[in-house]
């Protein structure tokens, strides 16, 4: 058998106007864990889609176990023993674990599904690889981590020897990530070859043997993970030195600015998503809300900003109740907000940067003169100042349509607008989701700079390292209530992870 399980040579793939892969090489040894590292849009997914038969490359060759192959579609990939665990699971929600795993390759007796054999096969597989999961449970009833195991079992059931994991940890809690790392290690011991698509350096250090780095569609290099540090990997990925840890000067928080008192919120369907939640945010401090997606964070923010009505409790801004004001009145009272879904709630894509820059205060005297006439000059002036100050990269300056900006620059436009409004409290939801490393670094720095100015900041993020790095205090939310509020230096990621999963722990504030 060849030394390499996968060899991809000179793979080039272009889409209209974009070179997704430019003569990329990938060599994965038998029975190794090989990480594929790169920023969003670096071409990782395209390369793996070519390997999995979803795309055909414009040029280049693929060898599996030393033999040249042509992978026309995913079925061919499956026959070659290649399996893929997708980031977004492809499971039938109301089927059982067993039914999902055998779907499409059901063991039959005559024309009838042999459910006994299917169940026994699945049980044997999960035993062999240590993937404990109840074969009779329905998908909708099991956790995300367990659903991922079902996806892994699906590939194993199809006799995959090469398993591709696409950003497998994006949806998991820290505990589940630890378990996944154990599973991947176990798979390797059982003789499988693993390709791990990720942009999380820590996971690569924890589990991978070798790592191939892509940047903007180009092959940068392949390294032995043991020989390089995280920051060296980051530098290969971004092309320059990057600092992830943001220096956060010690400072004494001031008065309470935002106070949530027994807040209760129902979502659009009338389900109670936030129950009796109380929390303070002081000036000059960043308070983080840590939690798994869907535990009431979105509804809580919607209630604070006025997008959803309060069903109970009150919200105070500088001790004035704002819980029943209109959205505009809350903005006027000093509520700044950079929303999680920035394209839906943060920007008007068809508006220029100038128009977006004044979205919340266009009616002020500065921008609206007599007879309600807009002062476009003032709008463009303001936008140009923000472009300069926040380093927004826009081809046509303040006349650029927001929709044509990159994700990072769109986020900068929103952050610039909110900061320029000089709010009393700034609510920041998932500020770095989907951004590239450079933009992440910039946005995080900016948040800390605002904190140094004495701004009160409430941060919601699903990225634990972001919460740990930026926040003074961390409020962990689970099922719509705050489990505990801790000073960030007094807890570990592991503690927070436990609480996110719902277990009570110590409270340090």
């Amino acid at each position: 058998m060849s030394e390499y399980a996968i060899t991809m040579k000179g793979i080039t793939k272009t889409f209209p106007g974009v070179i997704a892969n430019d003569k990329v090489d990938l060599n994965v040894k038998q029975k190794e864990i090989h990480a594929l590292l790169g920023e969003n849009g670096a071409g990782k997914s395209t390369l793996m889609s070519i390997l999995f038969g979803a795309y055909s490359a414009d040029s280049g060759t693929i060898l599996i176990n030393g033999e040249e192959v042509e992978i026309k579609n995913p079925n061919v990939a499956t026959e070659l023993g290649i399996g893929m665990v997708h980031q977004h699971f492809k499971l039938v929600q109301n089927y059982t674990v067993t039914e999902n795993i055998v779907l499409g390759m059901e063991p039959r007796r005559g024309q009838i599904l042999d459910s006994k054999r299917a169940r026994a096969d699945v049980a044997a597989l999960s035993e062999q690889y240590g993937l404990s999961v109840d074969p009779d449970a329905r998908i909708e009833d099991i956790s995300v981590g367990q659903q991922q195991r079902v996806e892994i079992l699906k590939t194993l059931y199809r006799n995959a020897n090469i398993i591709i994991f696409d950003e497998p940890t994006a949806v998991l809690t820290p505990q589940e990530i630890d378990e996944l790392i154990e599973i991947i290690t176990k798979l390797k011991e059982e003789g499988k070859t693993i390709v791990l698509i990720t942009h999380k350096l820590r996971e690569i250090k924890a589990v991978a043997d070798r790592c191939t780095v892509l940047r903007r569609g180009k092959y940068i290099g392949t390294v032995e993970v043991a020989d390089v540090s995280e920051s060296e990997l980051a530098e290969m990925m971004v092309g320059r030195a990057v600092r992830f840890e943001i220096d956060k000067p010690e400072q004494q928080p001031g008065e309470v600015v935002l106070r949530l008192e027994h807040v209760t919120v129902k979502d659009h369907l009338g389900l109670e998503k936030v129950t009796d939640l109380s929390l303070d945010v002081h000036s000059g401090e960043v308070v983080g809300i840590a939690g798994i997606d869907g535990n009431g964070q979105s509804e809580l923010l919607a209630a604070i900003t006025g997008l959803l009505p309060l069903t109970g409790g009150e919200i105070y801004l500088n001790e004035e109740p704002i819980g029943h004001l209109s959205i505009r009145e809350r903005i006027e009272a000093g509520l700044g907000y950079t929303p999680e879904d920035r394209q839906r709630y943060g920007l008007v894509a068809d508006f220029t940067i100038a128009e977006n820059a004044v979205l919340k205060n266009y009616y002020h005297n500065r921008y609206t003169g007599s007879f309600g006439i807009l002062n476009e000059e003032a709008m463009h002036e303001e936008a140009s100042a923000l472009i300069e100050q926040f380093d927004i990269r826009a081809g046509e300056g303040s006349h650029t349509k927001a929709g044509s900006l990159s994700g990072g620059n769109q986020q900068k436009v929103i952050v610039a607008r909110e900061i320029s409004l000089e709010p009393k409290v700034l609510i920041v939801a998932q500020p770095t989701r989907g951004l590239d490393v450079g933009a992440i670094e910039y946005i995080r720095r900016r948040i800390i700079a605002e904190r140094s100015r004495g701004q009160a900041i409430l941060l919601v993020s699903f990225e634990l390292d972001e919460i740990m790095n930026l926040c003074d205090r961390i409020a962990t939310i689970s099922k719509g209530t705050i489990v505990a509020v801790n000073r960030s230096e007094e807890v570990t990621e592991r503690d927070i992870g436990m609480m996110m999963a719902g277990s009570q722990l110590k409270e340090s504030v």
Partner: protein
């Protein structure tokens, strides 16, 4: 990251291309039924310039009529376009038009017979009822999420039969017309009549020009229009940014109704000397949808598109005189709308292709 849209992909250029394409197919159709397409263009040229190529005579009346026919098309196009810019689909232009016509007729027959003031009052009444007829839809939509498409269609019929009931009560009403208006209610313009050899061109055109300017000014230059455009492009972002979305939607439907109501008033006082007891719709409100589509819902574009529709309408009689079936103009209008719709279909197709590509990317 410079990203300029190429000229050929700009909305204006597409509209021009679509109109040319409509004419091209129309020409082929005329040839297919065995007539000379040149005659069609002669008729259109005559409607546009008053110049008759065949006998070399000039008759400026045709220019006046083309302009006059364009007035309701443009106003109803503005009505549709204004709502469209705020993200609404106002199919109710017809009902707002009918109510405007009805109220103008009432005031014309019963109002104070003071020169100028009389017809001004009648047109004002037409605009006010249009604003109410449209504004109600806006409030229902904004406050109770009643689909404006459904409510405007239903209100069109309410308007039609309400108009008939009311007009039957007017002085001298028979089943199809009322008594003649007093002189003071007419909006005819002697100067226009003199220079255009007695065409029906009337004072209504001044109101139309004011309406076009008002559309442009409100939509592009004021903060009210800014809020409306934001609402039209992205309602969620507008709401989250504190823009009063409910107000934007209600006001825009009311303004939309003003345009259509005004069209009704101008037709009632300018094209007839008596009130009509209508049994069917005039369809200007519906034609306005096509006009706004071709004009990309902008003030300028809608004006050009409305002039085109007015031109085609005026050319109909001339075509018939040259043995070209006048229905060809409806076919051309229809083709233009279909081609415009195809552009949206192309956009949908592109989105579908993109989606398939993404699905493939994740291995579906």
């Amino acid at each position: 990251m410079k990203k300029k849209t190429p000229f050929l992909q700009s909305d204006g250029a597409v509209s021009v291309l679509v109109v040319l394409l409509g004419f091209l197919v129309g020409t082929i159709l005329v040839a297919l039924v065995g007539k000379n397409p040149l005659n069609m263009y002669k008729a259109i040229l005559q409607a546009l310039s008053g110049y008759n190529i065949d006998n070399g005579r000039m008759n400026v009346r045709y220019i006046g009529e083309t302009l006059n026919y364009s007035v309701p098309f443009i106003l109803c196009g503005l009505s549709m376009g204004f709502a469209n810019r705020v993200g609404l689909f106002n199919i109710g232009g017809e009902g707002q038009y009918i109510m405007g016509m009805t109220v103008a007729q009432i005031i014309a027959l019963l109002g104070p017979q003071i020169p100028v003031l009389h017809w001004l009052l009648a047109l004002l009444g037409a605009m006010v009822i249009g604003a109410i007829w449209g504004g109600v839809v806006g409030i229902l939509k904004a406050k109770y999420e009643v689909s404006e498409v459904v409510s405007t269609i239903m209100l069109n019929y309410v308007a039609l039969y309400l108009s008939r009931i009311i007009c039957l009560q007017l002085p001298g009403a028979t089943t199809y017309k009322t008594a003649n208006y007093p002189e003071t209610a007419l909006i005819g313009n002697e100067f226009f009549q003199r220079i255009t050899k007695n065409s029906l061109l009337n004072n209504g055109i001044f109101f139309m020009i004011l309406a076009v300017l008002a559309f442009w000014f409100i939509m592009e230059k004021t903060s009210l229009g800014y809020g409306m455009r934001a609402t039209g492009f992205n309602k969620d972002a507008a709401r989250a940014s504190g823009i009063p979305v409910v107000k934007s939607i209600s006001i825009s439907m009311a303004i939309s109704g003003v345009f259509a109501g005004l069209a009704g008033g101008i037709i009632a006082l300018g094209s007839f000397k008596y009130g009509r007891v209508i049994a069917g719709m005039d369809n200007y409100g519906f034609d306005g949808i096509a006009v706004a589509l071709v004009g990309n819902s902008t003030a300028f574009g809608t004006t050009i598109a409305g002039l085109l529709f007015g031109l085609l309408k005026n050319a109909q009689a001339l075509m018939q005189a040259k043995q070209i079936p006048k229905e060809i103009t409806f076919i051309i209008q229809g083709l233009i709308v279909i081609f415009i719709a195809l552009r949206s279909a192309l956009k949908l197709y592109q989105e579908y292709v993109d989606k398939r590509r993404l699905q493939k990317e994740v291995g579906l």
